[in-house]
């Protein structure tokens, strides 16, 4: 199959001789059975756990134990589960949800703000030490956050910040990948001529940034915001070692605490609430992706085509 495909451009040097069957343009991609099968498997691999989650959040604890994983039990308890999730232990789930929103709002929001400011400055201003910054940022991208968690804990512990929301928010403010992305994006998306024109017209640097650069950066900002939001929303290890007071737990940690109740003598076994809680936890992320998808896509593609 592949031989005929590679041979086709040579044969069809003269336009019009080309048979329509073999024509493939970016708008009409050619089919490849192997790729289709592989992609189907990938879809199964990613979607099946989600389907499992949806199905099993309709079951009671008893239903979970005596029914198969991928089909419904005899009872439909989704609404009871949702209600119980929000009322269990005096409604601490709601508190965890608010905590997560706080961490995402301040942490991911702050990280995006810093990345935008830093990325813009690095892309559009010449100053000594840029290369050093570049090396540091690239190096930082390569270090997984988990590896830094313990040193950060020891440092924060000395500063008396552990067991406060700041212990989760401050480390979330740093997003080397977001900074790098903004840097590359700003370099491509904002023509230097435009900035020069604005300066010629007498706009201050602040005004140039807000009125000229910022609108052009919007797709990139949304992309970075999504990245940092997902990272902060899903962050488990950092809060795990930083926080002791369950009142400050984010959802990830709270759900894990509920799950570990099943491993405790006298503990209440609430797998049904853990599953329902997990579903509720990912819904906002799914919503964010669906609403911001178009920005996200245009952001990823930025700079890939020369206009």
């Amino acid at each position: 199959m592949s031989t005929s495909v590679t041979a086709s451009p040579a044969k069809s040097a003269a336009p019009g001789l080309r048979t329509p069957r073999k024509k493939h343009t970016p708008g009409k991609p050619r089919r490849n059975v192997l790729l289709t099968v592989l992609m189907a498997l990938m879809v199964l691999y990613t979607v099946v756990p989600l389907i499992w989650l949806v199905i099993n959040s309709t079951k009671t604890q008893a239903g979970l134990a005596d029914s198969g994983g991928l089909w419904f039990a005899h009872d439909f308890a989704l609404w009871d589960n949702v209600r119980d999730t929000f009322t269990y232990h005096d409604g601490i789930f709601g508190r965890w949800l608010l905590n997560t929103l706080l961490y995402v709002g301040l942490g991911a929001g702050g990280a995006t703000l810093l990345a935008v400011l830093g990325g813009y400055a690095l892309a559009k201003f010449q100053f000594p030490g840029r290369r050093a910054v570049f090396a540091v940022v690239i190096g930082a991208v390569a270090v997984p956050g988990t590896a830094l968690a313990v040193p950060t804990f020891l440092m924060f512990s000395k500063m008396g910040l552990t067991d406060t929301p700041w212990a989760v928010i401050i480390p979330s403010l740093v997003s080397p990948f977001g900074l790098y992305l903004m840097w590359v994006f700003a370099a491509e998306a904002i023509p230097t001529e435009l900035l020069e024109a604005a300066r010629m017209d007498g706009a201050s640097e602040v005004r140039t940034f807000f009125q000229v650069a910022l609108p052009l950066l919007a797709p990139g900002i949304v992309t970075v915001l999504l990245f940092t939001t997902v990272a902060t929303w899903n962050n488990y290890f950092l809060p795990l070692i930083m926080l002791k007071d369950p009142d400050w737990y984010p959802l990830t940690l709270g759900l894990s605490a509920w799950s570990s109740q099943a491993q405790t003598i006298g503990g209440d076994v609430i797998f049904n609430l853990v599953i329902t809680g997990s579903l509720l936890t990912i819904l906002p992320l799914i919503a964010a992706f669906l609403f911001l998808q178009k920005y996200w896509q245009s952001g990823l593609a930025a700079g890939s085509v020369k206009e």
Binding site: Y249, I265, G266, V269
Partner: protein, 445 residues
């Protein structure tokens, strides 16, 4: 991921414990605690009121805390209950070593008490009147919380062992309830032959179960005398345990399922795990964790290692202790006493906790309680009987949580490879001794 996380946490916990040991050597401020606190002092503290923080996951404490606040309106009990097991101890060790955020009362399981009392992390409650409560408790739990004339906590619950078995499965294959471990082995063979998917029990190596079975078999591997330690798994009791359990492992008669996982709950529910030798607190876990098998399970006395022997052992169980760094010790003790010796006990028993107090264990109301889950069986009679037959001369290592954490790297190999159980225990012994030496204990050979 889970494994790495717990390893790192363990690392943090150990660092903290070490730091704790160092600070404990430096100061001798615990002398100030030895002055007696009279009942009048406690009452005065309760009248004055204040806030206490309680770190405990035991679910019935919620009602107890509410009742306590009703009785003493000026006292505010802040119950932190979203953490248990490893995470709880990590947080507690970290708080103690940081000297900050230490709770006034903490739930500490019996096997972990030694770690905190030895490093002077806990308040001696004897001056508060705890020493006069000894006769209220069964010997197993009291022995676990006290050390000479010092009392490091009040027993909250206990776990005298019993054999829980799935009657439906036993009846189906006409298997008799085993009364000795040899009969248990036969039952295991018969069951697995009749239904290759069914196992007598599940075990992939569980330190708590192993130590409890050794305890029941009469083995006393740990000798603890102040800072002098002995670890020896080479006695007659250990031999009895090894013989039976080695055959269960070699003949693949144990379900390869880790305890307390969802697979395990599923197995208990669908009859593929047919028995469970564990503490008397299990009924509460059965009814919330395996609601679908209601009516199928029953309790029976633990199988004996020698026919006719009634010896039992404890599995699990925890106390409430007052950390040395607690801010409000009078109130902390008053709450502990209320929950574990006073009016709180009745509340907790009525909500399904298994008591450690003699009065409750021996009361007719308790003993004749019918368990709906066990189809009306008066299971408490079996449990109370077991509690009375627990030998009180067992001790855990002062670093048992650490020892348990390396169980799977040593003994656990026997469950998944061709290592013999006896060799595994030997390796566990060596590793425990080595750690003990590093911690500055004198090891008696």
């Amino acid at each position: 991921m889970r494994r790495t996380t717990s390893r790192i946490l363990r690392g943090i916990a150990l660092v903290s414990t070490l730091a704790l040991g160092v600070t404990a050597c430096g100061g001798s401020d615990d002398d100030s605690d030895t002055k007696a606190v009279s009942a009048g002092d406690l009452q005065a503290a309760l009248d004055k009121g204040g806030d206490i923080t309680v770190w405990a996951w035991e679910p019935t404490l919620k009602t107890v805390a509410a009742d306590f606040q009703k009785k003493y309106p000026k006292v505010k009990v802040n119950l932190v209950s979203e953490r248990s097991g490893d995470k709880h101890y990590t947080a507690l060790s970290n708080a103690i070593s940081a000297g900050k955020g230490v709770p006034d009362v903490a739930q500490v399981e019996y096997f972990a008490l030694g770690q905190y009392s030895l490093t002077k992390g806990l308040t001696d409650l004897a001056p508060y009147g705890a020493d006069k409560l000894a006769s209220k408790y069964t010997p197993g739990p009291w022995n676990a919380v006290s050390d000479g004339d010092k009392v490091y906590g009040l027993p909250m619950d206990s776990g005298p062992m019993a054999l829980f078995y799935n009657k439906t499965v036993f009846d189906k294959y006409k298997i008799a309830v085993p009364t000795t471990w040899d009969e248990y082995l036969d039952a295991a063979r018969k069951l697995h032959k009749a239904d290759p998917k069914a196992y007598i029990t599940s075990d992939l190596g569980d330190a708590g179960l192993t130590t409890s079975l050794l305890w029941q078999a009469g083995s006393r591997p740990y000798k603890v005398d102040g800072t002098k330690l002995g670890v020896n798994f080479d006695d007659a009791g250990a031999k009895k345990f090894e013989t039976v359990w080695q055959q269960l492992i070699s003949e693949k008669l144990l379900a390869p399922v880790n305890g307390w996982t969802d697979d395990w709950y599923k197995g208990l529910g669908d009859g593929t795990i047919a028995t469970l030798a564990t503490g008397a607190w299990m009924p509460a876990n059965f009814s919330t964790g395996v609601p679908n098998a209601k009516g199928q399970w029953r309790a029976a006395p633990m199988p004996a290692w020698t026919k006719g022997d009634k010896a039992s052992a404890e599995n699990g169980g925890s106390s409430l202790a007052v950390p040395s760094l607690a801010k409000n010790k009078e109130l902390a003790y008053a709450f502990t006493e209320y929950a574990n010796s006073g009016a709180g006990v009745a509340t907790r028993v009525s909500e399904g906790a298994f008591p450690a107090t003699k009065a409750e264990l021996e009361s007719p109301a308790f003993q004749s309680k019918k368990f709906d889950y066990f189809d009306g069986q008066e299971a408490n009679k079996i449990f109370a009987d077991s509690a009375a037959n627990v030998a009180s001369d067992w001790s855990y290592l002062p670093f048992q949580p650490y020892a348990n954490s390396i169980f799977n790297d040593t003994v656990g190999k026997a469950y998944v490879s061709s290592t013999k159980l006896a060799d595994g225990l030997k390796a566990w012994q060596n590793a425990s001794v080595k750690y003990g030496e590093e911690q500055g204990f004198t090891i008696e050979k």
